[in-house]
């Protein structure tokens, strides 16, 4: 034909037209076209051709697009299943490798899914969560900004009355452990004081009592059903009973609420009214002291940014400009749990980083497992070439073949998923221990859709490439029996292996560095000794000053106990600070807080804190109340020369510096050592620290609790060990490092499984080559090197790519710590070497085995 009608129209026709109608319809159209061209020119003919094609696009002509619209589609499906079953049976090792890899990969993904799902559901259950905000303050310290959730007592009332955007505002205290007693029963429980409209903001299930009246009476106490069961053994007929809190105030049980769900970031067993707290704590009634928390329910559609601008000067206005460093703002309560970290007044991540990190790890592992499947399926493709050829010759089209291979991968993924579920079900209890959560495999709507989604993604991700790869072979080529080889294919396989091992190297290097950093923080010299130090609360009758003093001195004399001292500070984290300290040359705008340690004279000795110069407080001396001890950081910060004997002003009183202690870490290693001062406290302190004799802990605890019983009858002794508490500051990192370790191990195992499979396959195909080479005198060693060459190269490349990558990532992570390890060269060497070693062993073992075969066996079989 001299001239062709528009290609697009032909293509369209060929696409939609029934196949058996196509030849003669096309013929008719072409014939018409030729005639029209002669009659009225190409342009018109083209136009009419297109019109005809469009008019042909009608039900009688359009072919059916259902993939398997054949009467025996069930047969085809059965046939496919049978073929893939036989295939798996024939290549058991490949099947197992794929299954093992996918199962462990999917199990990891499931675990991470459960964990992430739990993390993101924290605090999301409140009905009003879209309008529920937390009041916060940015505090300018002169040399930086810190962000706090503490607020002044009158904040809620002021916000509610003066700002129309605020529907309701409530104040709560912090959660504290209290002693509860009823008749002769005693128990310990966590309590919180909340103000009147609390239930309008936070969603709680009230089992008994009218939620609008529960918080009316200042003497009411509302307890959880769990506490009721624990304490009264019943949840019926409890209202009206009188409970004594901390052995000094009686409250009447007014209602029962259902135990808070695990997805609540704040956990407590009972509530008292904030109005009661207000009446009994004068310090909370002004705008200067901050400790309570304030929450707001904003009106529908309130402009939060505008509101934040409006309240920016709230504290300054209320204190007539005195507290000028505090700038309030509000943040959505439901976002607080995941985005709790602030830097210079701006959100800087928080737990969301771990959520992201684990989601990435899950994806990595899944991808690694999918790559195994892709590699092994395409590598084995040569085994199925004949099958493809025969099928295509008898008229199976490409679509059906693609479908067949996808069914193949779907089947495998579904089996793997079932096994992964079994695995998760078995391991979940231990996993819960590691992450300290209560995750369960509840087959709810979300989990099921999630599972189906993961199955689809995995099956498609791993199946789509092999499916198209296998189905594209030309039947003639395949059946004639040429050696099918394409460079593109082997490059793809090498690339995928490299990618897999790059991920593994990054994971291994990360685990090494995270582990080193964690153990550094736990073994670094803290500057004091927290071994065998027990810390207990001072409560009940011990709050009496003289009783407290006697208790302390009794403790020090008992056997098995080395020393005892009181402190308001718990030595783990920031407890309380003040900027009410003046020294000559202080910048008037400086608001840096000094950590405030109010202690008994014995404290520094009990904690083994070393003196740099000067002396400790004199024991049993009232005359020491105008003396002060600083740490080195404080002296350096104030810039004092020859500080001993100099006077500074604390809260308006002159105090004399009598000693300087060496810096010690009371806060987490995320923080630099802050300035600290010690002053004596005459009254009782919040905590008592007791140093026990090493190796006699049980006896020591026994002695303490006996003594406690006589001094503080009816109150159960609660104690913790300081080093345990210290560990808790690194809980998040500890968990992350343990989990990351497991996941990295799984990632490398899966990668190696793939490598193992590939190596085994290569050797199988090269059986003849090995035989011939052996006959010509190659040694086993030569053969091993020769055979492993290719895969080894891929692994080496991935190490070269992976190490710098992990260096940058880890450097970033270490920036989070004020005290961090230096990146040692051996971290990366070890990661690289380990990866290489594992890979080499995997491949080399196979190669060696193959090269030791008797060449006759390899060659005679045809």
């Amino acid at each position: 034909m001299k001239s062709m009608p528009p290609r697009l129209a032909i293509a369209f026709l060929r696409w939609f037209c029934k196949l058996d109608y196509l030849p003669d319809i096309e013929g008719d159209l072409f014939q018409l076209y030729t005639r029209r061209m002669e009659e009225s020119g190409k342009k018109k003919a083209d136009l009419l051709f297109c019109k005809d094609v469009l008019l042909l696009f009608r039900p009688g002509i359009i072919r059916s697009f259902v993939l398997l619209k054949t009467p025996n589609r069930m047969e085809i499906f059965k046939h496919n299943l049978l073929i893939s079953f036989r295939n798996h049976l024939k290549n058991k090792s490949f099947f197992l490798i794929n299954l093992l890899g996918l199962t462990s990969g999917l199990a990891c993904v499931l675990f991470i899914y459960l964990w992430v799902n739990d993390e993101i559901s924290i605090d999301q259950y409140h009905t009003n969560k879209d309008r529920l905000y937390q009041y916060m303050e940015n505090v300018d310290q002169g040399n930086g900004m810190i962000t706090r959730i503490t607020s002044a007592g009158p904040t809620a009332k002021a916000l509610e009355e003066e700002y129309p955007e605020v529907e309701k505002a409530v104040t709560t205290t912090w959660v504290t452990n209290y002693n509860l007693s009823w008749e002769d029963n005693n128990t310990k429980a966590d309590g919180i004081y909340v103000s009147k409209n609390y239930f309008d903001l936070f969603s709680l299930d009230i089992i008994e009592g009218d939620k609008y009246k529960l918080l009316e009476d200042k003497n009411n106490i509302i307890i959880s059903d769990e506490l009721a069961l624990r304490f009264f053994g019943d949840t019926q007929n409890i209202t009206g009973k009188m409970i004594e809190v901390d052995r000094n105030t009686l409250f009447q049980v007014a209602g029962i609420f259902k135990k808070l769900p695990a997805t609540s970031s704040v956990q407590y067993d009972f509530m008292l009214t904030f109005e009661h707290f207000w009446d009994n704590n004068e310090w909370v009634q002004n705008w200067y002291n901050t400790a309570p928390r304030t929450y707001l329910l904003m009106k529908e559609g309130a402009d939060i940014d505008a509101f934040n601008k409006k309240i920016y000067d709230l504290v300054r206005d209320k204190t007539e400009g005195n507290a000028k460093h505090r700038s309030p703002f509000i943040a959505k309560f439901s976002d607080r749990y995941l985005n709790g970290k602030y830097e210079n007044g701006k959100v800087a991540g928080g737990r969301i980083e771990y959520v992201k990190m684990f989601s990435t790890i899950a994806l990595f592992i899944l991808v690694i497992a999918c790559i195994n499947f892709m590699n092994l399926s395409t590598a084995r493709a040569s085994r199925r070439l004949k099958e493809v050829g025969v099928k295509k010759t008898i008229g199976v089209n490409k679509g059906i073949l693609v479908f067949q291979y996808l069914v193949d991968s779907f089947m495998l993924v579904i089996i793997a998923m079932v096994m992964a579920y079994l695995l998760v079900w078995l391991i979940l209890p231990s996993f819960n221990l590691i992450v300290d959560k209560n995750l369960s495999l509840n087959p709810d709507y979300q989990l099921i859709t999630g599972t189906i989604l993961i199955i689809c993604i995995t099956a498609l991700l791993s199946g789509i490439y092999p499916a198209f790869y296998l189905s594209k072979f030309k039947p003639i080529q395949v059946l004639k029996g040429g050696n099918h080889k394409s460079t593109g294919e082997s490059w793809a396989r090498k690339g995928l292996v490299t990618f897999q091992f790059t991920l593994s190297v990054v994971l291994i290097a990360s685990v090494i560095v995270v582990y080193e950093q964690i153990s550094y923080t736990q073994t670094k010299n803290l500057g004091y000794n927290n071994d065998n130090v027990l810390i207990m609360n001072v409560e009940g009758a011990l709050r009496d000053s003289s009783r407290f003093q006697t208790f302390l001195s009794e403790l020090s004399t008992k056997p098995n106990l080395k020393n005892a001292a009181g402190s308001n500070h718990n030595m783990t984290g920031h407890n309380g600070g003040t900027y009410g300290i003046q020294w000559p040359g202080k910048d008037p705008n400086d608001r840096t807080e000094f950590e405030n340690m109010q202690v008994t004279p014995n404290f520094i000795k009990t904690m083994d804190i070393e003196f740099k110069e000067g002396r400790n407080f004199m024991p049993d001396s009232q005359s020491e109340s105008d003396k002060i001890i600083f740490n080195e950081a404080a002296i350096a910060f104030m810039g004092l020369e020859n500080p001993l004997g100099k006077k500074v002003e604390l809260w308006g009183n002159q105090v004399e510096i009598i000693g300087i202690v060496k810096d010690f870490h009371f806060d987490s290693f995320h923080e630099a050592v802050k300035p600290i001062f010690f002053i004596l406290r005459n009254n009782h302190t919040r905590n008592i620290m007791v140093k026990l004799e090493a190796g006699k802990l049980q006896e020591g605890i026994q002695t303490i609790s006996e003594l406690h019983e006589t001094f503080n009858p009816g109150v159960n002794l609660t104690y913790k060990f300081l080093d345990d508490e210290y560990q808790k500051m690194y809980e998040a990192e500890n968990r992350v490092s343990i989990l990351a370790g497991y996941f990295a191990a799984i990632a490398i195992i899966i990668s190696c499984l793939g490598l193992f499979g590939l190596a085994a396959f290569t050797l199988e195909r090269k059986g003849k080559e090995i035989g011939i080479r052996k006959i010509f005198g190659s040694s086993s060693m030569d053969l091993t090197v020769k055979l492993t060459n290719d895969l080894t190269k891929s692994v080496l490349i991935s190490i070269i790519i992976g190490l710098p990558l992990s260096y940058f990532m880890l450097n970033n992570w270490l920036e989070n710590f004020a005290y961090k390890i230096d990146m040692e060269w051996w971290f990366f060497f070890a990661a690289g070497f380990l990866t290489f070693l594992i890979a080499i062993l995997t491949v080399g073992f196979q190669a060696l085995k193959a090269s030791l075969f008797d060449p006759i066996l390899l060659l005679k079989d045809e």
Partner: protein, 110 residues
């Protein structure tokens, strides 16, 4: 014997296939209808009707020779089956019954 009811265009196509007697394929049928009845026939409409008639058993088809002007595609020739012929006759008969029953006066009015 019952014969299927066929539509107006189906009847025309069937008749035309008969007229062409042995030389009936897409283009000739189209040309024949267009020249005799002076109406436009689209390939799409014609093809669907032909296939439908074939499916009903009124037509059969066989492939003919290929031709360069057709881009090497074969012609598909259609012939009327006995069943088709009877159906046509049946249609004609039923029309005639009605015509004969039509009062003269009605025609004269026109």
């Amino acid at each position: 014997m019952k014969y299927p009811k066929i539509g107006e265009f189906e009847e025309i196509v069937l008749l035309t296939v008969g007229i062409l007697h042995g030389n009936a394929y897409g283009i000739t049928i189209k040309d024949e209808i267009e020249s005799r009845l002076e109406r436009k026939v689209s390939v799409g409409a014609l093809q669907t009707t032909l296939r439908r008639l074939e499916k009903k058993g009124l037509l059969t088809s066989h492939h003919g020779e290929t031709e360069a002007s057709r881009g090497g595609r074969p012609k598909l020739f259609f012939t009327i089956t006995a069943y088709g012929r009877n159906t046509l006759a049946d249609t004609k008969e039923s029309r005639e019954k009605l015509w004969s029953a039509l009062p003269r006066i009605v025609l004269n009015l026109k």
